[in-house]
């Protein structure tokens, strides 16, 4: 079997040129470069051995180019410093000489030899490493960076602020966009706010800056009331099926009612609803398919719904959530604003606001539902949102007092600590509780005409129990990701333990998922505020733009390759493949026979080599890094003859 390998390789040139660097003494002070050169001459396939004070210098590179150009050599080994420093340098030199950059192998005899070993053994080790590199070089094949055509087309799923931002960014970069929104409206949760922290911007202004740009852009097609139904393909060439249909009964009923009542036309902003695209609401269902190069998920979040009885929610009508309060604030402004905030005509003289509802839950302290894991994460935005709302109330309705019950105030962002300070200046009274001593909301049987009484063990008052009578209790509910389990399933992407979609790496590839060509934007990934969601959306758009901008996707040539002469179609490789879909068994005709053989999809293969290890026929290898090459290298390391 191994003879076969060898036979194949002899046909493809093996004129290896070896170039050893002195590195101005850095190498040659400890490694006898002359002796290394002498030793290497004996290695099979090596036709030329030269050395230079600085291989990376122009004269050094010239040596290689000269030998390549006049055909003396067709494989190159440079023995010098770490490949991280100059591998690219020498590959470029080869390219400049008209060669294929992948016929190059690097031997590291500075960082891994001369700087760590001294004396005769250093020279011997260097010799063996260079010999091993030569052996590997012998087995190198010219490779082409793998290109797949990529459609300059992207699909954004979700028409909230992040989706709008991403769609517009992509369109501006000349990429055609399809925007798929499941509800009848664009604007997502941003449209359901009033003024937003910390800038005080009107949420409708934000939406109306972006939405018309999206709706009027000829390169963007918006589908509302749409849901993804199928997904296939790979980066640059996805095929996405989706269906538009009129909302089911009860779905978006309030919003649609509001739209009708408002008399707003498509493209106009409907407060607390959003913007209806010109297509309006479809009457019939329709199936669509789109060929797309990349997909940006901007599927957003939903506010946590407190359990019945959680801080009196569902038990007392005076207990509401923060999104509900925000509406109340807006309504009060629309009606004649009074010194006191009003709810259904009722004077609200005091409001208790409770933080971390549905966030920062701790196992053992917070009650766990069987079907629902605890939200252990911080929802990031609630502290500032609460304080912003509190300030708005205090500034407009000075007779409404506000009590704020918190665990930690997390006004981390620019302009947010100021919200906290403003709240203090606005005479909001703060109470701090530990998770295990959450405030208790009960009916007020004590003095005053306040319907509720909030009792808390306040750590700011030396652990004393404090009671605050309240007319309204507002729960700062956290964020939960929208349920996109269908997309997760279809696209084979991952969710974290927190149920938000999981990026490859928070720092290395923060907006990408493991499936190439699928990106994350906004709160489907983690709680964000509007600015952060837009930054993430633009971040996802820039990656998409880089990915699709050239019309093709260039992939590392180091992907698996099947030797059809050897493959027997066992399927072991398909089984072992870590990137599902990168390897498949396909039927093909060989010598008139229909057989099953492994086939690599170079677009999805990551080149890890998991397949190489399991093939009983040694029929599959990662290009440029074959098992045979490693065996040859080991042979050089253990061989007797290099030992001088």
């Amino acid at each position: 079997m191994e003879d076969e390998d060898k036979a194949k390789e002899t046909t493809s040139g093996q004129k290896v040129g070896v170039y050893v660097c002195h590195c101005g003494g850095n190498i040659s002070d400890h490694v006898d470069v002359g002796k290394v050169c002498e030793n290497i001459k004996n290695v099979p396939g090596v036709v030329s051995v030269r050395n230079n004070m600085f291989m990376c210098s122009d004269p050094g590179q010239e040596m290689i180019m000269e030998d390549l150009k006049n055909g003396t050599i067709d494989r190159v080994v440079v023995a010098s410093c770490a490949p991280s420093l100059h591998e690219t340098t020498f590959r470029n030199a080869i390219s400049r000489a008209g060669g294929n950059p992948y016929i190059y192998e690097h031997a590291n005899i500075r960082e891994q030899v001369s700087w760590v070993h001294h004396g005769d053994n250093a020279t011997e080790k260097a010799s063996r490493l260079v010999a091993a590199a030569a052996a590997k070089a012998k087995g190198l094949q010219p490779l082409e960076a793998f290109r797949v055509d990529a459609r300059k087309h992207a699909t954004v799923i979700g028409g909230g602020i992040a989706g709008l931002r991403a769609a517009k960014d992509l369109a501006d970069r000349g990429i055609e966009v399809v925007l798929i929104e499941k509800s009848p409206f664009l604007g997502g949760w941003t449209a359901k706010w009033d003024h937003v922290f910390p800038t005080g911007d009107n949420a409708s202004d934000l939406i109306m800056e972006l939405a018309p740009q999206v709706l009027n852009d000829p390169t963007i097609t918006v589908y509302n009331c749409a849901r993804v139904t199928s997904f296939e393909g790979f980066v640059g060439n996805f095929k996405l099926g989706f269906k538009t249909q009129s909302p089911e009964k009860g779905e978006y009923e309030d919003e649609i009612k509001k739209m009708i009542e408002s008399g707003k036309k498509p493209g106009e902003f409907i407060p607390f609803v959003g913007v209806s695209p010109s297509s309006g609401i479809p009457d019939a269902s329709e199936e669509h398919t789109v060929q797309t190069g990349a997909i940006i998920l901007a599927t957003g979040f939903r506010p946590y719904t407190p359990r019945t009885g959680e801080f009196g929610y569902g038990k007392f009508q005076e207990v509401i959530t923060l999104p509900e309060l925000i509406r109340i604030i807006a309504e009060n402004r629309e009606n004649e604003p009074d010194d006191t905030l009003k709810v259904n005509g009722r004077d609200i003289k005091s409001i208790a606001m409770i933080h971390c509802v549905g966030s920062r839950q701790i196992p053992g302290i917070h009650e766990e539902d069987e079907d629902k894991p605890l939200n252990q994460y911080c929802s990031r935005t609630c502290c500032s949102a609460v304080l912003h709302a509190a300030n708005m109330i205090r500034e407009t309705h000075p007779k409404t007092h506000i009590y704020d019950f918190y665990r930690d105030i997390r006004t981390y962002g620019r302009g947010q600590e100021e919200l906290y300070e403003d709240a203090s200046k606005n005479k909001v009274v703060f109470f701090r509780f530990e998770a295990q001593d959450s405030p208790v909301v009960a009916k007020n049987s004590g003095p005053g005409d306040h319907p509720l009484l909030v009792t808390v063990k306040d750590t700011l008052t030396f652990g004393e129990e404090i009671q605050a009578p309240a007319d309204l209790v507002v729960l700062a509910v956290g964020m939960e990701p929208n349920n996109v389990s269908d997309l997760v399933e279809m696209m084979k992407i991952s969710e974290g333990v927190d149920k938000f979609l999981l990026e490859v790496h928070p720092k290395l590839r923060p907006v990408e998922v493991a499936v190439s060509g699928i990106l994350l934007a906004g709160t489907c990934q983690a709680p964000f505020d509007i600015g952060e969601a837009c930054a993430a959306a633009s971040g996802a758009a820039v990656k998409t733009s880089a990915l699709l901008g050239r019309g093709y996707v260039e992939l590392d040539p180091f992907v698996a390759e099947v030797d059809l002469n050897k493959c027997k179609g066992t399927g072991a490789c398909v089984e072992a493949c870590l990137n599902k879909g990168a390897l498949t068994l396909v039927e093909m005709e060989i010598n008139g026979e229909t057989v099953k053989r492994a086939q690599v999809n170079p677009a999805t293969c990551s080149g890890c080599g998991a397949c190489t290890a399991v093939c009983p026929e040694r029929a599959i290898n990662v290009k440029g890094w074959t098992l045979k090459q490693y065996e040859d290298m080991v042979d050089m390391i253990v061989a007797d003859r290099i030992a001088a």
């Binding site: 960082e111 700087w115 493991a514 870590l578 998991a610 190489t612």
Partner: protein, 140 residues
Amino acid sequence: MSAQENQAKILVLATEDCAYPGADATGQAHMSYPENTYILRVRAPVMFPEKFYLDCFTKGIYGIIIMSCGVECPYEGAYNALAARIEKVYAIMRDQGLDSRRLRLTGICTVCTRAFVKEVKQMNDLMAELGPPGSGKKAA
């Protein structure tokens, strides 16, 4: 180290993303370690079949250290697959009377210079103790 001892060759399979740059960092810090170590750059050590390791011992390699990226491995799932394979290799090694300590799987990152030297030194000491593979045919 005498030339004879230098025959106790240790093969280091170092991942190109983590351990190989870690070895380079060790060099940049001029921290010396035994020179019987031969570091080969690999994309992911999951590519080697069981036989590769066993062949190495047959060919005369004394010990093998796989320096991977550990759980930070850029190839999702590769580390677990590798760990599972190494378990299998251990089983075969035991069957063949090879001390399983001759093969070690570790995680080394790009700046883990001390850990790198420690691993290499430990393996070297162990090799001095165990002698060439196949010499004793005794399980430790």
